[in-house]
Amino acid sequence: MSQLDDLKNAIKSHLGELECVIGWEQGYDPLHATPLFIRTEADLDRLIIGPLAVHNLATYLPGFKGKKIGVVVKGCDSKSVIQLLNENLINRENVVVFGLCCDGVVSQRKIRAALPADPGFVESVEVGAQDLKISVAGQSATLKLSDVLADKCLVCATPDAIISDVLIGAAHTPAPAASLACQDEFEAKSDAEKLAFWQETMSRCIRCYACRNACPMCVCRDYCIATSRDPLWISQDNSPAENMMFQMVHVSHLAGRCTECGECERACPVDIPLMLLRRWMNKQVKDVFELQAGTALEQTPPLLTFKVEEERINERGW
């Protein structure tokens, strides 16, 4: 039986006890998936998994307070579930986790760059084991999956869900986390070059807050300081400086909490490479606190604890 059939059977056997199970279905065209809220067995017919099912569905979990629901997660998404549990933002007994052993998901941005015409004109997509056969604007293209995988998949150390009630698929041999070339290249730039880069990039930001709302760990939701009117912390002006200010608030609120699922960057309609900020911050957190968010149950983010003296910060020795 295929992974998809296994998953469908597993969901079927739990559906009676759950409000719904969140998975994916085909979206507005053959290249895009969209979240699917499975309430009946008939809905299961639409369920898909695979490299096009990109969304981190854990984002929806805190919104279902008090209701028992199921969620389908890839390895990266399962880290968000763990982090939400660690911060008491969801209850373990209210979530049934259907974990996948994931072979990676695509980056729509990389697909766009690799296709002969804009994916807006996509006609059909055939997902193979190693490639995607895409017909777009009357032209066919075969893209190797390994060439269009999301950056996070290139360095993934947790392809299989690390927390699950049901684990679907064959487990992968664990690989050590690698470093990402584009991150290393960026960090090698001088401060002036980095500043110039962000000034140019942030001039594109439209402050739509898709990055914030797609983030499973951005749980202030309606009470975010970026949109508070009283006090008005951040100007509504969309100058590059104000836009960057919002992103810095965003990144610091995620210190020790960001699981690098990449949803912020994926959700951005103007392709701002927000993960450059996230990965940099996570590196600092790892160096100082030896912590990687979402990798172990019962760990608390450093900014949610208080110690008079941090073990690895020599405050009095300066």
């Binding site: 065209d29 979240p35 941005r109 439209i206 508070s228 100007s235 969309n238 309609p269 392709d271």
Partner: protein
Amino acid sequence: MERFITKENLIRLAEELTATCRVLAPVASCGTVTFRRFLPGMVLDMHSRMAAVSPKAATFPQTETLLTVKREIPEKKPEITETLPEGKNVVIGCRPCGARGKLIFNPVYETDKTKDPYYITRRDNTVFISLACDRPETTCFCHSVGSGPADAEGSDVLLTLVGEGYVARSVTPAGEEVMKSSLFADAGDKGKEADAKNVRARELMGEAHDYASAPAQLLARFDDMDFWQAQSAKCISCGACTYMCPTCYCFNITDDDLGLESRRIRSWDNCMSHTFTLEGSGHNPRPTKAHRLKNRVGHKFSYYPDLHKGVIACCGCGRCIKQCPAGVDIRQIVKAAQEYSE
């Protein structure tokens, strides 16, 4: 007036116009195409893809200063200066839907009772040189909302790609003025080719969806929160759809206070946001994302048409579908309301 302009000359025209106007054009940066201020030397990207963000900012900027306040001494009466927009704008290379979108603003910002001087000044000083579409994207539905891939309404000049250049047709006197430039040549019999392309593009769009029953059917579902909760389940309540929409015109006004100087700014508001209708009392008539999405869909396909002679407040550009992080499809929501049976 019908003329022809080569691709090279269109770039030259854009460069020439920068001397007297603020030119907005689709420019690619890090793989994304957005409308931005075009300056000589920049590379126009008119054909690779529809700009992620619409050219709305030409007539309705994301942020604009309405007035400035200066106080020399706190006790003294402050000096207030109104800052009406100045200068001329030209938008080059938008799709017809992007140009037409702004027409939705007119019955709102210019009525017998109210006239918004900021919008009206910008609108009257902005020329739209649009490019007819060759073929629809999977998210396009302009033909279902009373438009089409070569719709000239809202444009001043409509270009159609023919061979290595564009057949240019003036729509308004302002457009005719632009086309007086010597960069335009005689169109010869290229007009026929342009017509054929426009007809073909319309054919490729297939049958239009009929939204005639949408206003009444959406209103019939107004109190049905189960319907709206189901429709909005995957919405993450960000504002990407409204910000990229050429027809969304809601705004917010805030004061940027800088000590003795301050700026009153108007910025795009967004009905997906909690603060959109948050009242001073703390009460919010639209407390959940289901209420907010109902407002967005209802406004475009029901309340606005009811108020304004049946005109749907959507230009069918599909940006809200294409760029939605969760893949919410406004076409499906309206259709679900239209097909709903108890």
